[in-house]
Structures are given as structure tokens and as C-alpha cells.
């Protein structure tokens, strides 16, 4: 081991501590003979007393598609828990990831998009993930192979898909180039922020919310609040019209009702059970069941589904939109050997980044056990947490912890909680939560 490698290894030890140490003790060499489950003679490597049960020392190649909240986390924890012989390749189309979480604060100028960017250097350097920038074009679940845009392929022992979502085109629109949904943080978020800044005083911001399930249940209501707060201060007389396809506010109802009816009363006009017949991208007229509504700035949040890649691989088997999975391992119910985590999968858990991170850990742990010929943990727990800014200085929150329910074979809420009130303390707590969550996901 040269000095550089040794330093790197020590850094890995520092970063991963006992997890890797246990595996180091148990694993020993790099025989490369494809040895699978260690039988517990764990003293061989370090020459010390056996200290750990035979959980790992697996070998194989796991390919992860998508380096967002779910994909980055699963790659990291596969390396952390899988030991040195588990190769992990992460394929992501972009050189860095822009967090959706906190991206509503780009709309009121409190955050920049670049402050929400996370690259893959730490996954590569500290965790030994093989990171490939590229677009996955196709999956062959029988040959266990994915093909990339540059014509190359990667074969896998197990595949994890974490590609997020695809957005339906709303009636009347051919793209979201001028009428942004901004529900995937990036250029559309910047465009929407510019449009809001350029909006005349007394103008109207119209947003639409699709029927559940959609990414981040409190997110649209949070956006309505953040925009209302911004308009009050910067565009006197402006209004926010919320056209919600759902029968009522779909998350944190108490907090958002308070926000809509008191804090932002007179600014936010909320309509439940709204239907959108068409949107004219030039005149910005929206035809609805409530009649024709004129917008100065228009923000349609479209219905969502698992991306085409997942559909084309034959993995979409829930409501024609989502990939069904076994929540003990997130293995697809359509194809063995393929796991789907995050927004693209159908579970009883919300489509959110914090829960995608938790799903990724259950999936990583299960894959390590499955590669060792064991069964996944029979009683996994996951948790979801979300802070929702309501103004530029206050927030509410929502959290839930899910335990596996063997009878229904689903993750069932075990305890849930919501902020009792909208406070500046919550707003301040949001940032350490965000920073720790992103560091836990991206290294």
C-alpha cells in the first residue's frame, strides 16, 4: 500500500468506523475468488480474536442508476456495509445533483441553486463508489445488463433503480420550457424565480397540484406559502391561486389551513377538487371547472410517474405509473434482481428525500444479506421528515416512523407527528436537519 492509498484507507476507516472495521476484521484478503458468505472464521484477516457475526464479506457488482437522494445513499451504504469485495457502480446523468429540498427558497431569493448542489467526489474518494457520468438508456433484467448512451454496458449481480420521476404533459402544453413546473430543482427553478421577480404588482400567481400520490406531499402548499410571503413584501396586491386536484390539503392540513386562512389570508385563494381542462402557454389562460383563470405567472405541477426507463423494463405494475416492490428489500415484484427505491416505487411511504434515504439503507442492507445467501431483515423501520417554510422566517414540520407490518406486507405508520405551531425555531432547526441529511446521503 503506498502512502496515498494508506491515507485514503485511513480516511475511509475514519469515515466509516466500526462498520468497515468489522468487515475489515472479518473479511481479510482480496483473494478475488468470488468467495461469498464468510462462515464466521473472522480472525483470519487481522489475526485477532473473532469479533463479529458473519454478516458480510460478500462479493459481486451492484449497479445503481440515478445519483439523487435514494441512489447516492444506497451506493454509499452498500460500500459501507458490503465490505471491500462488493463493487458498486453509480450511473448519474449530471455531474452534480441539485437538491429539491429547500429549492422553494430559491423562489424568494433566500437560497441559490448552487448552494443546493452536491457532487459525487466524496462517494468516489471516501467510499470507493465507481461513479460514471452517463445516461442509462435501457435495462435487460434477464441478461442483467444496463446500456448507456455512449454505447457501453454494465453487467450486474443486482441493480438498484433510483431515477426519480417523470412528469406528464398537462393539456395544452408541449413542454415546460416557458411555463415551468420547477418540481425537479434546476433551470426551471431559476426560471420561475425570474418570472416571479418580473411579475407586476397586483399580478396573479396560479399553481396547480396533481392528485396524490406526488413528490413531497407538503411541497406544493409550502410553495404557495413561500411565494405568498414573497409577493406580499415585493408585489403589493398580488394574489396566489392554488388549484388542487385533491379533495383537500394533502399534508400538514392544520398548519397549512392556519397559514392560508390567517397568515396569508387575502393573498392565497385555495380551491380543492379543481380540474384543469387546458393551459394556454402564450396567453397564460387556464381553463378549469371554476372557469377561465388568467395568470401573470403560471406554475403547473404535473401528475407524475416512474420514468420511461422503468416502464420500458417492464417494472411498472402499480396503477400504470409506479414500480411495485417488496419493502423488505425493495426488490421489484416484476423482476428478481432489480430493486427500485425512492419516488419511482409504489409504497405506503411518501415520495420524499428523507424517506428515499431510509429506503436506500433497507435496500443496501438487504442486498448485502441476499448476496451472502441470507434473508433480508424481517422487521425494517424507516422514517420520514420534512420541514415546510411558511414565511421567510418561520416553518412547520411533519414526521413519521414506519414499522414493517407482516400481515399487510407494507410499511405502516407507527408514530407520526406534526408541528403544533408555525415558529421561527422550526425554521432554524430546518438547516442542521438539511445539512446532516445531505451529508448522510452524499458522503
Amino acid at each position: 500500500m503506498n502512502l496515498h492509498n494508506r491515507r485514503q484507507f485511513l480516511r475511509l476507516l475514519g469515515a466509516s468506523s466500526l462498520g468497515a472495521l468489522v468487515h475489515g476484521c472479518g473479511g481479510g484478503g482480496d483473494s478475488g475468488t468470488g468467495d461469498s458468505a464468510d462462515t464466521g472464521d473472522s480472525g483470519s484477516g487481522g489475526g485477532t480474536t473473532p469479533v463479529t457475526p458473519p454478516v458480510v464479506n460478500v462479493s459481486g457488482h451492484v449497479v445503481v442508476v440515478g445519483g439523487g437522494m435514494g441512489g447516492a445513499t444506497v451506493a454509499k451504504f452498500l460500500r459501507l456495509w458490503g465490505g471491500q469485495n462488493l463493487r458498486v457502480t453509480l450511473i448519474e446523468r449530471n455531474p452534480s445533483y441539485t437538491s429539491n429540498i429547500l429549492s422553494n427558497l430559491v423562489l424568494n431569493g433566500q437560497r441559490t441553486l448552487s448552494s443546493l448542489a452536491y457532487d459525487y467526489a466524496r462517494l468516489r474518494d471516501n467510499y470507493g463508489v465507481n461513479v460514471i457520468q452517463g445516461e442509462v438508456m435501457g435495462i435487460d433484467p434477464v441478461a442483467r445488463k444496463v446500456s448507456l448512451g455512449d454505447g457501453s454496458t454494465q453487467t450486474y449481480d443486482r441493480l438498484v433503480l433510483a431515477p426519480g420521476l417523470e412528469f406528464d404533459l398537462m393539456p395544452g402544453l408541449t413542454d415546460y420550457q416557458t411555463i415551468p413546473h420547477a418540481w425537479q430543482a434546476g433551470p426551471q427553478t431559476a426560471l420561475l424565480a425570474q418570472q416571479l421577480a418580473a411579475m407586476p404588482a397586483g399580478g396573479t400567481f396560479v399553481m396547480t397540484i396533481p392528485a396524490a400520490p406526488f413528490r413531497c406531499p407538503p411541497g406544493p402548499y409550502e410553495r404557495a406559502c413561500v411565494v405568498a410571503d414573497y409577493l406580499k413584501r415585493n408585489k403589493p396586491g398580488a394574489k396566489v391561486i392554488v388549484l388542487d386536484a385533491n379533495p383537500g390539503i394533502a399534508a400538514e392540513r392544520a398548519s397549512f389551513e392556519t397559514a392560508f386562512n390567517t397568515l396569508h389570508a387575502g393573498v392565497i385563494e385555495y380551491h380543492a377538487a379543481a380540474t384543469i381542462d387546458s393551459i394556454d402557454p402564450v396567453t397564460r389562460l387556464v381553463q378549469t371547472n371554476l372557469g377561465s383563470i388568467a395568470a401573470s405567472v403560471l406554475n403547473p405541477i404535473p401528475p407524475q410517474r416512474a420514468p420511461r426507463l422503468v416502464q420500458d423494463a417492464g417494472l411498472v405494475n402499480v396503477n400504470g405509473r409506479w414500480a411495485g416492490v417488496d419493502v423488505l428489500s425493495y426488490e421489484s415484484t416484476a423482476h428478481p434482481g432489480v430493486h427500485v427505491i425512492g419516488d419511482a416505487s409504489a409504497t405506503t411511504q411518501p415520495k420524499a428525500g428523507h424517506i428515499a434515504n431510509a429506503e436506500a439503507k433497507v435496500c443496501a442492507d438487504a442486498i448485502v444479506r441476499m448476496l451472502a445467501g441470507q434473508a433480508p431483515d424481517p422487521a425494517p423501520v424507516t422514517n420520514s421528515a420534512c420541514y415546510s417554510p411558511i414565511t421567510a422566517t418561520t416553518a412547520s414540520w411533519l414526521t413519521a416512523i414506519y414499522h414493517y407490518d407482516p400481515a399487510s406486507r407494507t410499511m405502516k405508520p407507527y408514530v407520526t407527528g406534526e408541528a403544533a405551531s408555525i415558529t421561527s425555531g422550526n425554521y432554524e432547526d430546518m438547516f442542521p436537519w438539511f445539512n446532516n441529511l445531505m451529508a448522510d446521503s452524499f458522503g
Binding site: 466500526l18 472495521l21 487481522g46 454478516v55 423501520v381 421528515a385 407507527y414 407527528g417 446532516n436
Partner: protein
């Protein structure tokens, strides 16, 4: 990585021998404890702003969790998480963090 390198590094850190009997429980607590990493940092090594759990004594962690459970649900997100694990799960989680150095 060759075995002798592990020997080297482990000898350097004197690490393997530190391993207590609780390793089995700590191992089973790993996946449960990973539910704390999002807020308290990977393996409990917080990035700041929220308490570090890595290396916290098991009795201290269990004591604090039970204290937070007992308080009426208020404004604090952590109180919800304190009520989200059975006593057996909590023991495994505590064993895990106690073993992280």
C-alpha cells in the same frame, strides 16, 4: 487491499481488540440506528447543529430517549422519534452507537 495491510492498520489503531461482546447486538442495531443518521450524522457523527450520538453510552442514550418519550408531545420533532421504537429496538440502537468510535 491485502490482508497484511489490514493487520497493519488494525495494529496501528489497536482497534479489533476494543470490540466488546455486545458486537452481535450492535450489528443487529445497525439498520435500526441508520434511522438516526439523517439528523444525527452517518454513524452518529453529526455535521453540527444536532447532537452527536457516536460513542454515546448505552445507558445515557436509553435514558434520554425515555425522558423525551415521557414528555408530552410538543413542538419538538425528536420527541416523535423517541416514541417510535420498542424497548428491544432501543436497546439494539443504543448498543450500536455505544460501539461507534
Amino acid at each position: 487491499m491485502k490482508p497484511r495491510h489490514f493487520t497493519y492498520v488494525l495494529a496501528l489503531l489497536g482497534a479489533c481488540v476494543l470490540f466488546p461482546v455486545q458486537a452481535v447486538r450492535a450489528e443487529s442495531g445497525r439498520l435500526l440506528a441508520s434511522n438516526c443518521f439523517q439528523c444525527h450524522g452517518t454513524e452518529g457523527r453529526s455535521q453540527g447543529g444536532i447532537d452527536r450520538l457516536a460513542g454515546m453510552g448505552a445507558n445515557k442514550l436509553i435514558g434520554e430517549m425515555k425522558e423525551m418519550r415521557a414528555k408530552t408531545p410538543g413542538n419538538d420533532m425528536m420527541k416523535v422519534h423517541a416514541r417510535a421504537y420498542t424497548d428491544a429496538q432501543l436497546n439494539d440502537i443504543a448498543a450500536y452507537f455505544a460501539n461507534v468510535r
